[in-house]
């Protein structure tokens, strides 16, 4: 009655989620549109939960608490960017949704193909989208690995736990598609809300006797840790990271496509009021991380993601750890399934179909299902290679998807000043900048050692976005002249 009970609760949760997925599909014919965008008839609550499903992932649960534990003040960026993203969404999502509905679009690249009349741009956007989704999926698998191996009290080694987690997510997507995600989202949100709020209140009181005391103790032990440092993850890093992630928030292929599932455009405006408040859950996530700082010290590098579970193991009996683990499994399963679904659909519909020529929807749908385990395997490979924290993985993904923002925004204007060539080159420049800088591990401090500190601390994604905008502007200016020969 120790390790077994925690694992049993987690296994039960996973089985329940699979059951809900099957049940949601019951009696429905699953066309490609049905499987991926839920037939476009979800109301406020469902879109709310789906979009929230994107937000409250393993990233928040383990990554957010781990970052608060390991980095302190810089973790505050996580509570800030969503807010600004919702302000933007109020104006950004309705026109995207209207256009998608008129044209029966299913995925994000469809939008680019239609707006810019360029299948090549669609392929580029698909590939960049998949490249960005992989680290996002990797972080969910990593989270599942941490949860299952910790809750088994070391009985199941992390790499086996990652394989189990990946198998469950894959099975889940194949049986249920989008409907399963929406229903499990409901279950997930209630459990995660309860668990996080409980932990965030209980742990500081249990270990320190209150919030004031906890913060004073941390301030005494590590002065200034809970504000932003002067160098490194400074104010310039904070502002550029918040800006990058706020602009990129709805540029994720799965988030973009989830917005298609709304019944009407006012759904987004309602959500822009409610979702910022939902961000407050993050406060409790931070409290968990802060409580761990002085109680389970010594976790460094990628290990900081373990903070929540290490402290839970130290505090609770196995069945409580099991409930926390179950909630954790759901926070990885729902977003993980949406991400897998998005990646597989992108590959089949927007890459495979473009090269293969016209094929039936049934065929594309079948290819998408076969691609689900393939994408999962690739992600397992990267997960096992390891090395990054959960937050670093997500920020890498963001640096890629935010490169779509300029050409999406401009395409919503009545007279789009950006040409397809401009959009294509701009995205390439941004993405290549991010890829080169992060794979060679070159920081701005190394590139420009004499530049002001604030510049050196900028998030690399924002620098790439700047280069992207410059390239887009220049190439658009050059290519716009070509189709008007009468204009002498």
């Amino acid at each position: 009655m120790n390790a077994g009970s925690a694992l049993a609760i987690i296994a039960f949760t996973a089985a329940l989620a699979l059951g809900l997925g099957l049940w949601a599909r019951h009696g429905k014919s699953m066309s490609l549109e049905e499987w991926t965008v839920g037939g476009r008839h979800f109301g406020s609550i469902f879109v709310f939960l789906l979009l929230a499903g994107e937000i409250y992932t393993t990233f928040t649960f383990l990554g957010g608490s781990g970052y608060a534990y390991g980095k302190g003040g810089p973790a505050y960026y996580i509570i800030s960017y969503g807010c600004l993203a919702y302000v933007i969404s109020y104006w950004l999502l309705p026109p995207i949704w209207r256009y998608a509905k008129e044209r029966h679009l299913v995925s994000q690249p469809d939008f680019f193909v239609a707006k810019y009349d360029s299948p090549a741009l669609g392929v580029l956007v698909s590939i960049v989208g998949i490249v960005a989704l992989v680290p996002y999926l990797v972080l969910q698998f990593k989270g599942l690995g941490i949860i299952v191996s910790t809750a088994s009290y070391g009985l199941i080694p992390p790499h086996v736990a990652i394989w189990i987690g990946a198998a469950v997510v894959t099975a889940y997507v194949i049986v249920s598609g989008m409907h399963g995600s929406a229903w499990t989202s409901v279950l997930k949100d209630f459990t995660i809300l309860a668990v996080v709020v409980f932990l965030g209140i209980y742990l500081p009181i249990h270990w320190y006797g209150g919030f004031d005391r906890m913060f004073n103790a941390i301030q005494a032990a590590k002065p200034g840790f809970l504000a932003l440092p002067a160098k490194g993850q400074s104010l310039a890093w904070f502002d550029s990271t918040v800006a990058l992630t706020a602009l990129g928030f709805f540029m994720w292929p799965h988030g973009f496509a989830a917005s298609y599932s709304a019944k009407h455009e006012r759904v987004f405006r309602h959500n822009a009021i409610l979702l910022p408040l939902y961000q407050l859950i993050l406060l409790f996530v931070f409290f968990v991380g802060f409580a761990a700082i002085l109680q389970v010290p010594g976790l460094t590098g990628p290990e900081i993601d373990l903070a929540l579970f290490r402290l839970s193991l130290k505090t609770f009996s196995p069945w409580v750890v099991g409930i926390i683990g179950g909630a954790g499994v759901l926070t990885a399963l729902v977003p993980g399934s949406l991400i897998l679904l998005a990646a597989a659909t992108l590959l089949s519909k927007n890459v495979y179909r473009t090269f293969r020529g016209a094929t039936s929807d049934a065929h594309i749908s079948m290819v998408a299902r076969w691609l689900v385990p393939v994408v999962a395997l690739v992600s397992v490979y990267f997960t096992l290679r390891g090395g990054n924290t959960i937050v670093a993985l997500l920020l890498m993904g963001y640096s890629f998807v935010t490169q779509f923002f300029p050409s999406v925004l401009m395409s919503l204007l009545r007279h789009n000043p950006v040409t397809k060539e401009g959009a294509f080159i701009g995205i390439c420049v941004g993405v290549i900048t991010v890829a080169v800088m992060s794979s060679l591990d070159v920081s701005l401090a190394k590139v420009a050692p004499s530049a002001p500190q604030a510049f050196q601390d900028l998030n690399i994604g924002i620098v790439a976005l700047g280069l992207n905008i410059i390239a887009t502007t220049i190439v658009s200016a050059v290519t716009r002249r070509v189709p008007s020969p009468h204009h002498a």
């Binding site: 003040g73 505050y76 800030s80 807010c83 919702y86 302000v87 509905k101 809970l226 932003l228």
Partner: protein
């Protein structure tokens, strides 16, 4: 115009305001000062978006507007 000004406030509060509140002490409402400032803006953003919703003429009339559509079974 008023709507635009309102929408700019969360950006100013979070991106610019933080410059002046980047400190731990004093604890405000039991939280480190910078965190308390950001949390206040999360709540204010919701209030501001509510105001914008009420002021925005787009939100008058039936929700589906010209695109009335019955739910697909």
């Amino acid at each position: 115009m008023l709507i635009r000004l309102l929408a700019a406030l969360p950006f100013l509060g979070i991106l610019v305001g933080s410059i002046f509140l980047n400190r731990v002490e004093p604890l405000i409402a039991g939280l480190p000062a910078l965190l308390a400032w950001l949390v206040m803006w999360v709540v204010l953003t919701s209030v501001i978006m509510g105001l914008i919703y009420l002021l925005d003429p787009e939100n008058r009339g039936p929700p589906d507007g010209e695109t009335e559509r019955s739910a697909k079974p």
